[in-house]
Symmetry: C2
Subunit: 110 residues, 2 copies
């Protein structure tokens, strides 16, 4: 992942509403969630949510498909994977011993 895409992803997730939206979509899994449902679940106005969904979308963190009147959003795990890979790449660059605890902590979560 190149730096600019990393910056987009990080700044997109570095905002409370958007982090909440993304986490909600991750939890929703492959079936995703409609914009209206997200808005109600998080108590955000539709237009504000649209704006934030668009930012997440530009950053590649969510996808969407229309489904009747609703538009359904999904977390894009590929981008998330790339982001984590980029951050860990830095972390590991040259000093595997620093990275090891990170991997151990991660491994036990899954």
């Amino acid at each position: 992942m190149e730096k600019n895409r990393t910056l987009d992803a990080l700044s997109a997730l570095g905002q409370e509403t958007r982090l909440d939206v993304f986490r909600l979509l991750v939890r929703a899994g492959p079936q995703g969630q409609a914009a209206g449902e997200i808005a109600e679940a998080l108590g955000v106005r539709p237009n504000t949510l649209s704006s934030n969904l668009n930012i997440l979308s530009v950053a590649g963190l969510v996808r969407s498909t229309r489904e009747g009147r609703s538009i359904r959003y999904f977390a894009n795990m590929e981008t998330m994977r790339d982001l984590l890979g980029f951050l860990l790449e830095d972390c590991c660059g040259g000093q595997a011993e620093l990275c090891q605890p990170v991997l151990e902590q991660i491994a036990c979560k899954c």
Copy 2:
């Protein structure tokens, strides 16, 4: 890691100068790097750098110790580990199959 600390870390890293600084410090490793060296390496003015170092510091992503006239900064890998753990926790919550490719990609880097 709780959500607020996650937000602090993500928004701190979601800005080009600060991401550059943090990556430089990660590469510098345990011996860290003095503020002046960082400023020169990245072509940032001292006062601007100070401001950004402070933001990284509040977010827990860097530490510092005075060393004569210089102040030496270090990347704080613990916070980085916690951040990655938090993000992956979401990723894995309920659906390990989504998380698996992430782990595989990460594993091969170290």
